[in-house]
Each structure stands twice: as C-alpha cells, then as structure tokens.
Amino acid sequence: MTPSNVIEVRDLRVAFGAKVVLKDVSFDVVAGEVLTILGGSGSGKSTLIRHVIGLREPQGGTIRVLGRDITSADPRELAAARRAFGVMYQSGALFGSLSVLENVCLPLRELTDLPESACEWIGRLKLQLVGLGEALHKQPAELSGGMKKRAAIARALALDPQIVFLDEPSAGLDPITASDIDDLILQLVASIGMTVVVVTHELASVFKIADRAVILDGARQGIVATGSPAELRDHSEDPYVRRFFRRESSQ
C-alpha cells in the first residue's frame, strides 16, 4: 500500500439481493486531498460511502482504511478504525433528543477526556463555523433542512477527524452558506491536513474544492471516470461524463 493512500478500495461489489448496485469499483483516497464522488441520483454514492465506513459488508472486494482491511475487521477493530472518521449522513442523522450543541459535544464527551466546559467551547466554535451560532440550544426538530445539514457537518467535524465523509453537504443550502462551508473545508484541509470525501452535485463546489473526482454511473453500476474535475470536463471521452458536466454546468 502506498503510504499516502488513506483509503484503498479494490474490486468492490455491492448488491441488494439480486440487484447489483456497484461492481468492479476501485479507487484510492490520498491523504490530505478532497475527493468528490459524483453521479446521478441512485447511482450508489451513499451506498459506496456506507461501505467505506464499514456500515455494511460488501458482496466482494476489499476496502483498506489507514492500512487496515475493514471488510475482514472484527467489530473492535472496526470501531477503532471509525474513530478516524467523521461522517455526515445524507439525512443529517442528528440525535433528536439532544440539542444541536449536545449533538456536536456528544463525540467530544464520549471519546475524549476533555472536561465539559471545554467540550462546549469547542462545540460552540464548530457550530459558529457552520453558521449556527444562534441555534445552539435548538432541538433538531426545530431546524430547517439546511440547518440540520450544517449541524450534521459540525458534528462530523467535532473530533477533527483524519478523514471526513460528507454526503451531499450543500444540498438544500443557499449559495452563500454553501460557499462558506466549502471555504471551511478548504481551510481545514490546508491547515490540519484533513482528508475529505464529499458527495456533491454542485459543480461550482466541485471545481472549487475537489482535487479529484470519481464519477459513478448507475446504469453501468460503477466508476466510469476518475480524474481532476477540469480534466474530466475538458478531456473525458465518455458520453455520460460529458453529459454530466455539460448538463449540470448549463443550469
């Protein structure tokens, strides 16, 4: 394994019953890069992330995270590997019985030895960074869709994880907030060397933050192109990739 690869996926195969969703999927994530996963709705982006973070066992292939094969890891190893992850689920998945601040503080409380007031200090800062400084004490049920997303991003970043997975963080956000979040991601990558895997449909955001992109096509059940966004836009011969960029950029 090349030392700078934090994630290596090889020949991944995923099926729900008889329905194959992903096959022959191989890609790497390099330390400190921002990788975007692009693809149509239902092409398997969320499914791919769920497998990389070890929530579901694939039907074939290997997934190595930080040098550890998580497809054969026992639950303890898996839990340890996941400590390096921050995950923002597509639906937000905030804990509904906790306030927004408590949601962000939960991982700090449970997984570090920081005293309560320090957890809160960090939690407040993270929420302020995603523009939720006003909503600290709100319950998730009281938030709008975009606010939930931002709270979920703050929670994913709570522990300053080595690798952050964001599933459609900017869907449902206004362009200003979405751009602020892009800036935050870039800043964290530059200053603390965070690795980011992000699913997004916003081409503007892709070109702004992504070092590389992989494109999934639901019809072909896998990755149809990998490369830097500009490379893919300008040089890809694949009709799906061309349509993807042309259609989305003409919006």
Binding site: S97, P115, A118, W121, L125, Q128, G133, Q139, A141
Partner: protein, 374 residues
C-alpha cells in the same frame, strides 16, 4: 484503540516565568486526543497569570487544539498571546478568532417551572378527554356513513388490516384463551371440590368467559398488538410529514387511515372473541377431564348455564371494545408530537388509554346489562 499504529501521541507543557511574564510552552502533539490532560492541569489561577502561549515546540496541531488555546486566552481575560504555532495553522487561528468574536451570546432556554408544568398537565388532561370523546364520535359517524355507502369504504385496506388485526392475532388469542380456561378451571376446582360441587366449575368458567373474560382478554390483546401498531404507524407518518402530504392531496386521513383500521378491528373482535371463548372452554374441559369429569357432563353443564344472550352480550362488548381500542390507537397516532421519542410516547399512550377505556366501558356495560336484566 488508537487507529494509527505506533505509540500514542503526547503533549508536553512547561510553565516558565520570564521577563515578559509567565509563559506556557507546548511541545509534542496538540490534538483532540491530547488536549484533555493539559486542560485539566490548568486551573483558573494559573491561566489568569499567563501572558504567552508558545507553540514553537509543537510537531502537530489540529483545529480542536487551536480552539483550546483560544479558550485559554479567553479564560486569561484576553491577557495572553499565542505565538509560534505552525505557519499553516495561522489562517485557521485567525478564522477561529474572528468567528468566536462574532459568536452571539445565547442563553439556554430556562427550565419550565413546576407550577406551570402542573397547570399545563391538568389542562392537557381535559383537552385530551375532549379530544377522545370528539374522536370516537366522529369515528362512529364516519363508520355509519361508510356503512350506508359501502362503495366508499377502502375495502383493500380494510381487508389487509383485518388480516393483520384478526388472522395474525389468532395464535396468541388461542394460546391465551386456552391458558385462561385451564387456569380458571384449576383455581375454581380447589374450593368447589371441597363442597362436592366440582361439576359447577363448567358453569363458572363458561359464564365468566362468555360474558366477561373473553371480550376483555381479546380486547387487551388487540390493544397490545394493534392499538400500539396503529399509533406507531400513524405516528411515524405524522413525524415524516406523510399526513401533511395526504392532506395536501385533499385526502381525508380519517377515511384513508382510521376507518379501515377501526372497521377491521370492529369486525374482527367478535370473531376473535368467539375463538378465545371456545378454546378457553376446551382448556377448562381438559382440566375437568383430568379430574375425572366426563366431557359430555361438562358440555351439558355448560349448555344448561349459558344461552345466546350471554354469548351475544359478550360479543357486543367485544365490538365496542374493538371500536375503542382501534380508535384510541389511531387518535394517539394523530396526536404524535415531534422529536424522536414522540412515536414511542404515542404507542405507550395508545396501549394505556386503550386498556383504561376497555375497563371503563366494561364497567358501564355491567351497569347497563344489569339494569336491562341481561
């Protein structure tokens, strides 16, 4: 448990008093996993005397590390300056500083006073009673209307619900009924045999099953199995805004969700009760048989005791219990609030209110039947 191999990263700190004031020198790794120890060792007096934080010895530093330094600065009354952090973190430090300066002061909502809570709970109780009465009334009207126009009934849904409420409940109804018959007969035999009146256990069991226990136990099963399920289903739909979606199509949630469920329960309750009664008698008969009473003696004793009125009065109760249990289940579903525990609360309330209603109604029945001489 550390994900990265090798020894755990450490953070060392030293406090030095220099010409320009007290200095906190850090070396090693200033990261989420290491800052807890530092934070705990810095008490308020030390922090307030600090003038400098020196990070030039650090090998590594993450966002939470920087956040913690900023917390120390704030606790020192902003008397303290940070220097020597790795260059690439400069912008992050600035950004954090700016955001913290902009962060609004928000107070947590004050806890509600107990008196207000008691008042609200009392008012809620009466409101709830009204809601229950109104709902059962609406439901009865809705059902009568539906029966007048049978084509308006959603038969597919109703039959599917009838299967879930009735057919699927049959095993548990049979098991419970059998056990009740056995237990009742056993318990009754002990004193009755003392008087040589053992055969009258057949009268006792058959009468109490048909008139009381049959409908009651079936309704309790219905409440636990289906009342709770109705509340959970409809409650989840409410939480997921599915009810709003129905409403925006102009569809009536009562016709769509409540009536099929309630009608299924009302139709199935008497049938389930008959099954429970029958198997209960079988259980009792087996006990009697084991004590040397013949089956034919048991049967003739039962037939001498009970008549159609006993059976029908029990079945009518069952029907009403079905209406109440299914109705309250749906009502609790519609009343589901927001938040993660809301559906759980509704489910509990459906079962509790269901059982309370059954027993209250049973009391009313006892009174009315008595007055009517049934």
């Amino acid at each position: 448990m550390d994900p990265s191999p090798g020894p755990r990263p450490q953070l060392q700190h030293r406090i030095v008093d220099g010409d320009d004031g007290r200095r906190l020198s850090l070396s090693g790794h200033l990261t989420t996993q290491t800052i807890g120890g530092l934070r705990k060792q810095l008490d308020d007096t030390t922090v307030s005397s600090l003038r400098w934080i020196d990070g030039s010895g650090l090998e590594d530093c993450d966002g939470n590390g920087i956040a913690l330094l900023l917390e120390i600065v704030e606790r020192s009354g902003n008397q303290c300056q940070i220097q020597g952090l790795p260059e690439r973190t400069d912008r992050l430090l600035e950004e954090f500083r700016r955001e913290l300066a902009e962060a609004p002061e928000v107070e947590p909502p004050p806890p509600r006073s107990r008196i207000v809570a008691i008042g609200k709970a009392t008012a809620g109780l009466f409101q709830d009673l009204r809601a229950q009465v109104a709902f059962v009334g609406e439901l009865t009207i809705g059902m009568l209307r539906a029966l007048r126009h049978p084509t308006s009934i959603r038969w597919t849904d109703t039959l599917r619900q009838a299967e879930i409420v009735g057919v699927d409940a049959l095993p548990i109804v049979l098991l419970l009924g059998f056990l009740i018959g056995v237990i009742l007969a056993y318990q009754a035999l002990i004193p009755m045999e003392e008087f040589g009146a053992g055969i009258y256990v057949a009268n006792l069991v058959s009468l109490s099953l048909l008139r009381e226990l049959g409908p009651l136990m079936t309704a309790v099963i219905l409440s636990g199995r289906s009342g709770s399920a109705f509340a959970a289903e409809i409650g989840t739909m409410k939480v997921d805004e599915e009810l709003d979606a129905l409403a925006t199509f102009g569809l009536d949630a009562q016709g769509f969700l409540t009536l099929p469920r309630v009608m299924a329960a009302v139709f199935m309750m008497p049938i389930l009760t008959i099954f429970l009664n029958l198997i209960g008698l079988v259980g009792a008969a087996l006990v009697m048989l084991s004590k040397g009473f013949s089956t034919s003696a048991f049967i003739s004793q039962v037939l001498r005791q009970v008549d159609y009125i006993d059976l029908l009065s029990g079945l009518f109760k069952a029907l009403v219990f079905g209406l109440l249990v299914a109705g309250i289940g749906c009502l609790r579903g519609f009343q589901t609030g927001s938040g993660p525990s809301a559906v759980g609360v509704s489910t509990t309330r459906a079962v509790v209110s269901g059982i309370v209603l059954i027993i209250a109604a049973d009391g009313v029945f006892a009174f009315v039947y008595n007055a009517l001489g049934i």
